[in-house]
Symmetry: C2
Subunit: 424 residues, 2 copies
């Protein structure tokens, strides 16, 4: 493909106007929306309104007058539309890690009540570490076992010992997307519950929790939902499960009547019992602006249209790189059905400095170190997230061209690109 | 006292200039800083800097360049100076409820390891409900018992069955302050650990966690620390305990090397293992501005000077009310040593509409319903928090005078003051 052909794709792109919602630094090609989404233009003013008017002037009254108290449900209902959940089924709260703790606890309690002999949490070895840490911790506390397998070994692990299948829908490293419907069905057939982490899915790929037969889900606010650094996360439970158990983080915001200040815990009906402490209002208000940028695609075809563009972007980038950068190996699946909204490449030696040199050319991706304890994950990764809301086809073309130039010029050898930073 | 005498106290008040740090709505007397502290002037600009520059322009690089990754420790070190903790001993994270879950879990694990027969968590019946809910939940999960007693029954409850004494230092309803040193010593003598909730203490009264012999502490960012609605909370563990146990919310930010993305959980050294998910950066940045307003008192005598002013304010208000409002009963202790930074009054019938009528006169306090399940807490409360950083003596005098006028005029009988709102 030529650069002009990429420009022609942009000219014909019905979703192109969505880019105007964002405050994008000029000249930057930002391929890290899967780590931190960019700033929506509406956010700064909205956050100022919350700070200066709602907090500064109206103060404590804003819990009522500005609806702070309903923010977790209001923003939750908006996210629900992006993941195939119904109104009142999903709330925004806490972090992804904390929410995983809640739903995995609830799922293990359910399994314990129904099938006490099942003692395994099954997950993918290359699942995002915080998910594995939380599961490891709960398994240790409750006498369960965390069983980690490769993706293609998952079906065989869904046996009579499996209590819960816990997966991240789109793998953070490889960009490989699980078939949620097929795995949820297999888990259900085996008598196990499913917990899905939608961190790299919500706002990036279509998700249909009800149709796909999920039991519990959590997700992240600061990636494809553009909620800002450390935005609160979300949590969903299938309505048939939501009221079956307490989750152990039984804080006052999940109480049936938090402002009655009664000493005994009485969980709120439905998903609201998955709230815990007081919500971080500033961060939550910013998240709402981010979610609104995704909902703005609804009149243009919504998540299905965003998905078509995302696949076209990642295909374009992967094709260009494979044609022009022979030293790089495509790690993400070529098959559209298995690829999330990112492209991961590996290089046996110089992935880190190549990513740094690209950043020096204002193309932002990120580096993920290989994990030598894990054969399938041992290789260092160059990771590029493609957010169809604000990326153009020409950005994908230019990014591939810059990558080619970085490799051919050898500029990645410069010392400044080879100094590791604390966070990458 | 006359109004002129109150004005004279303000004229002589060395702390008076600290009020200039805040954006106070004109004409408002805000006696609800124990629910939501007011907006510091520095906050709006700082939050905008985070949104527009650090997030909007620098994007993901700000984890390094803007030091987002160190915010929990950096702000934690500042709060540590207010509560008698050392650098590196306290971090900001999550909500108060979630942090209580972490430290109470750790304390119960320690007790289980050292003295497995101790099965009781002892607390005060009128402790803040979310604390009781979290304790109830953990007790249920671990086969412990939550034993609730009145404040004066606490010493007797510290026996060979007590694993953990869990108290809020200053009671949210009554304003009564426990003697942290005496109770911690009694608990230690009885072989129990202490968990202190500093929600109504940090920034309000002097706290000296080390000298007073506390084992664990948590606290709130949005009350006297002026961090904004739902600001993240803090957590402290005595250094001798910090590394003894995992806390169960074993998220990646509490890992020894979060960005190595290794599959097995290895807790960070010290208090950093009490971090869990990604911190809410916008809310954390606002919290730092709030904490700075309290630290600004350090050259003027710090928490000791703030405490002297706080006691003088609450004494003035209580004296004036008792002299002019015979239908109100003082619920807060008269004894300075037992009174936090608030004054609570009770009225047998009309506490709610009186608070609403006061709000109609721009004097903001709050109402706390009586809990009929609990004899000592059955009465409805008018609650007034006094933040010495921004309140003047004339505010305390005027508030008492407005309260007298509301009661004498009978304006609290108006229908609009008698409609209950969801959050009060």
């Amino acid at each position: 493909m030529t650069r002009d052909e990429a420009l022609a794709l942009d000219a014909a792109d019905a979703l192109a106007p969505l880019r105007e919602q964002f405050s994008l630094p000029p000249g930057l090609i930002y391929l890290d929306g899967n780590s931190l989404g960019v700033l929506p233009k509406a956010t700064a003013a909205r956050v100022q309104q919350v700070v200066q008017q709602e907090w500064g002037v109206d103060l404590i009254r804003s819990w009522n007058t500005a609806g702070w108290i309903d923010l977790p449900q209001r923003v939750g209902d908006k996210i629900a539309r992006l993941v195939g959940a119904g109104p009142g089924e999903l709330v925004v709260a806490d972090s992804t890690s904390v929410n995983l703790f809640k739903v995995l606890s609830a799922a293990l309690s359910m399994a314990q009540a129904d099938t006490p002999k099942r003692k395994r949490i099954v997950s993918e070895r290359s699942n995002f570490p915080t998910d594995l840490y939380i599961a490891e911790s709960l398994a240790r506390e409750r006498g369960h076992e965390l069983v980690l397998v490769e993706a293609d070994e998952l079906p065989a692990a869904l046996d009579e010992h499996c209590a819960v299948l816990m997966l991240t829908h789109v793998n953070y490293r490889s960009g490989r997307m699980h078939d949620m419907a097929a795995l949820s069905r297999m888990a259900a057939d085996a008598g196990a519950l499913t917990v899905w982490d939608l961190a790299h899915s919500a706002g990036a790929v279509p998700v249909d929790l009800h149709t796909d037969g999920a039991d519990f889900a959590i997700g992240c606010g600061y990636k494809y939902l553009n909620g800002g650094p450390g935005a609160p996360a979300f949590v969903w439970a299938h309505p048939r499960h939501a009221e079956r158990f307490w989750q152990p983080l039984a804080g006052w915001m999940g109480h049936a009547a938090p402002f009655e200040f009664t000493p005994g815990y009485r969980p709120a009906p439905g998903i609201s019992r998955y709230l815990c402490g007081t919500p971080a209002v500033l961060s939550l208000a910013a998240l709402e602006c981010g979610v609104d940028t995704v909902l703005a695609a609804e009149p243009l075809g919504g998540m299905a249209a965003l998905r078509r563009k995302s696949l076209a972007l990642t295909r374009l980038f992967a094709d260009q790189v494979q044609a022009s950068c022979p030293s790089l190996t495509l790690v993400s699946p070529r098959d559209d059905a298995q690829r999330g909204s990112q492209v991961c490449l590996s290089h046996p030696q110089v992935a880190y400095p190549v990513v740094q040199a690209l950043i020096g050319r204002s193309v932002i991706g990120d580096f993920r170190a290989g994990d030598t304890s894990h054969p399938a994950g041992a290789v260092d990764i160059l990771r590029f997230g493609f957010t169809p809301l604000y990326l153009r086809f020409v950005d994908a073309w230019d990014a591939a061209e810059q990558l080619r130039q970085v490799l051919e010029s050898g500029e990645w050898q410069r010392p400044e690109f080879n100094q590791r930073q604390a966070v990458t």
